[in-house]
Structures are given as structure tokens and as C-alpha cells.
Symmetry: C2
Subunit: 258 residues, 2 copies
């Protein structure tokens, strides 16, 4: 696995700046976090950042397979992924379910819960993960004081809406291989934004979870992977993906289905 970290990893975060490791600095650390530019604090000044530090409460570890929250749980906080990988999914009464998203470091989880003050989907860790807890009441309070924070929080929610539209587009108009290509390119780009390789990465989710997200059966996902490999676009070995021809993958998207 060739994932190159752009910055010192979280554990060294405090040490790097020679800040005493008090309980507080462990609990709260937006101002020390290397995900600032991706996460909620984006665009804040030094002093504003200090105030957000008081907002972000404890961290919470979530082991692989464990739920961060479940549909129906009372809504109290937004979560920022500090490390690890999550999926969110919705369940229908008859047992069918749909993965609605995958979240990685710096991305926010739980905004679906604001509407009815209860979560409407499940959030499950796909690997051992850690999240920062952002109590919603306090976020509201602080964002009414710090205009930049308010603005950015709105942008994050809006971005989620735009992302969902993209998924609707994908599900509504694309064929199987286009969907998978779009999915891989999206992951690639997000890994890159986090300082990892955009060409080589490890899938944290199963074929079934990919299929659920893309509105396909796991066999179809597997076949599409194999086909991409035969065509020399990617190299697949189980969950390990290497993108060999990103350009060709992109072209797959822009081409009308004959």
C-alpha cells in the first residue's frame, strides 16, 4: 500500500508544536489538526479557530463494524471524521438498504439528523476510526457569532446536497461501468486531497457495499472491475486498486451509451 502522508500523522500533532499534552489539548485540537482545510474550520482566523476548539468536544473511537449512530437515534451532534472510514446507509422496512455515502477524514457526518432531530440513517465504521464530536446546540450558538463559521457550515450542507444530486445523476442516467468509473475517480480525487496517492489505494468497503451505493448487484461490480482490468484501465487485486489510465476512465463518463 503506497499512501503517502502529506503531514505528520495526528498522534504527533501536539508534539510537533511542543505543546504540553494536557487532557484538554488531547480532547480539543482543531487549531492543531492537519485536516483544518478540509473540515469545519476552513477559512477561520486564528482567534476564531481558538473558539471552535472549545466547541469541538471529545473525540470518540469507533471500531470497525460498529455504529457511530443509528437511524432513529436522537440527534445531538455532528461528527467530523478524524481518522478512518465510514459508510452511511438507509434501511427500508422490507429489509432493502441503500448505502448513501462513504466518508473519510475531514468529512462531516450526521447532518441528516437536523431535520427531525433524530438521525435518519446509520453510520458504520468500515475500519477502526475516530471522530470529533461537535454538539449541535453549541455549533448553532457559535455560528451565529462567527459569521465565517456560519457561512462555512452552510456551504458544507449545500455541498452535501450537490453531492447527492451527483449520485442521483449517476443512479438515474449512467450504466454500470460508468457508475463504477465515476466512483473510482471520485475516491481517487478525495484520497489525493488528503495527501494520499490518487493512483493507488485500498477500498475499505466490500463489492456489495459499492454495489449498494451504485445501485448495482455485487456481481455486476465485480464484472465491471474485471472488465476494466482486461482493458488495462486499472489493476485490481481484491480491495487493492491501482489506476493505470485515469484519462480513459474519465472518457468513459463523457461518452453517451452508444
Amino acid at each position: 500500500m503506497t499512501q503517502i502522508k502529506r503531514q505528520p500523522n495526528p498522534k504527533n500533532c501536539g508534539e510537533a508544536k511542543v505543546i504540553p499534552l494536557t487532557l484538554n489539548s488531547l480532547k480539543v485540537a482543531c487549531s492543531q489538526c492537519n485536516l483544518q482545510e478540509l473540515c469545519l474550520p476552513l477559512g477561520l482566523s486564528e482567534t476564531e479557530l481558538g473558539r471552535v476548539d472549545t466547541l469541538v468536544g471529545a473525540r470518540r473511537k469507533v471500531k470497525r463494524g460498529q455504529h457511530l449512530y443509528r437511524a432513529g437515534d436522537p440527534f445531538e451532534a455532528i461528527y467530523a471524521v478524524k481518522t478512518g472510514f465510514f459508510k452511511t446507509d438507509v434501511l427500508l422496512e422490507d429489509g432493502r438498504d441503500q448505502v448513501t455515502g462513504f466518508q473519510m477524514a475531514g468529512e462531516l457526518l450526521g447532518m441528516d439528523g437536523i431535520s427531525v432531530e433524530a438521525h435518519t440513517c446509520n453510520a458504520v465504521a468500515l475500519e477502526d476510526s475516530e471522530v470529533c464530536l461537535i454538539p449541535y446546540e453549541q455549533l448553532e450558538e457559535l455560528s451565529s457569532e462567527i459569521r465565517t463559521l456560519q457561512r462555512h457550515f452552510h456551504k458544507v450542507m449545500s455541498r452535501e446536497i450537490v453531492r447527492d444530486h451527483g449520485v442521483m445523476m449517476l443512479l438515474g442516467t449512467m450504466r454500470a461501468e460508468e457508475r463504477l468509473a465515476a466512483f473510482l475517480l471520485n475516491l481517487s480525487q478525495r484520497f489525493m486531497a488528503r495527501g494520499y496517492s490518487s493512483a493507488e489505494f485500498h477500498l475499505r468497503m466490500t463489492r456489495e457495499e459499492i454495489g449498494s451505493y451504485l445501485g448495482l448487484k455485487l456481481e455486476t461490480v465485480s464484472r465491471a472491475f474485471s472488465h476494466f482490468q482486461e482493458a488495462g484501465l486499472i489493476a485490481v487485486q481484491q480491495k487493492h486498486i491501482r489506476i493505470l489510465d485515469a484519462t480513459a476512465l474519465k472518457q468513459l463518463l463523457n461518452r453517451q451509451p452508444i
Copy 2:
């Protein structure tokens, strides 16, 4: 067409309360609007409502077929549908497009634009319509002062996210007839919430637009309508729909595809 208005229609709104028809009272009228409980002002006190009146700027008429905004337009305002009916859609470079939603009275349009300060989809009137313009800068300002407004605006955005998840579920896991049943029941319920008949209504969109929204071809939509009619679930006459057996329609949704 049997749409029963619950309250005097908008045109009589001012007259009903014997308020002089100054330019201002025409421009601004949340406090006089019969959509209060559905729209942005939900849950506000009398005095707060008065302040929102100053926020909501001019109305804007949009003729059938005209754009309210286009993808790429700079984002400046949110719109509340006062009367009429809209669709929003996203376009792919290759010409494919996907309807992402239909909006009726009391629903907000344009929140997708916040993220990148430009609209990311097109909004088109499906009948002669009127919207209230809510300048975003001012909405931000006021919502940082009025906590109830802030809370409610967040809820509206969150509800949009939840709605999108529902559409993703529909596109990802349901078969054609389930999708159409879900669509009809959703419309029915929204018409009811606005004081119109839930059993009988007029579709403002074409079969093609329904199909685009549901990820189906227009012929498939048409066939599904015919099939529902044969089964005695609905009566269809072009765009006029009468729901004869809502229970059976609901059951269609909860049944696993064999």
C-alpha cells in the same frame, strides 16, 4: 380538476385583512402569507415574522418554461415558491440530464448554490409561477440574530438532504412500478399538506420529466401508469390523476420484488 383551496388565494391575501395595497405590502408579505407553516418562517413569533418581512425582497414572476436560474449563474438568493410549480435538473456535458426534484408552493429553491456561490442546477417553471426572493447575505445576517430562523433554515437544508437520500433509495433499489407508486404517493401527500385533494390532482410535468426524475424512460412511465389503471389503483387521463386505492399503492412499496 378538484383542487380545494384551504385558504383565500394569494391575490386576496392583502384584501382579506384590509391592509392598504401599498407597494411595500405587495413586495413583502411573509406575515400575511398563507404558506407560513410550510415555508421559511415556520415557528417564528409575530415580531420575528415582522423582521423576516424585511428580509424577503421582491417577488418574481416566472412564466411556464422559463428559467428561474441556470447552472453557473452566480448565487445570490434563495427562492420560496409562492405559487406554481418548478423542476430542477442537472446537465451532464454529453447532454444527458436528470431531474433532481419538483418544487411546489412553500418549498425553497436554490440551496445547492451556497456551496460554490453559483447555482449547480437549472430551475424551470412548469407552470406560470411566482417566487419570493430571499437574498442570501441578508438571510445569513438575520438568521444569526434570530435563533429560530437559523434553526429552521438548517432544518430545511437537512430535510433536502434526507429527501435526496430517499430519491437515492428509490433509484438504487426500486423497480419501475415501485418508483412510480412512491412518486404518486409523495405528490399526493404534498398536495394534501397544501389543502388540495390528495386523491385527485393534475401533473404539471411530462412523462419524460417524471421518467428523468425516476431514472426511467418515458415509455416505461406510461406503461406503469396504464398498468396501475388496469389494476384499478388509479385513474389516468393524460396529466389528470385520480388515486383510487392508496393502500394498494403503499403496499407496492413494502413488497420485496418477488
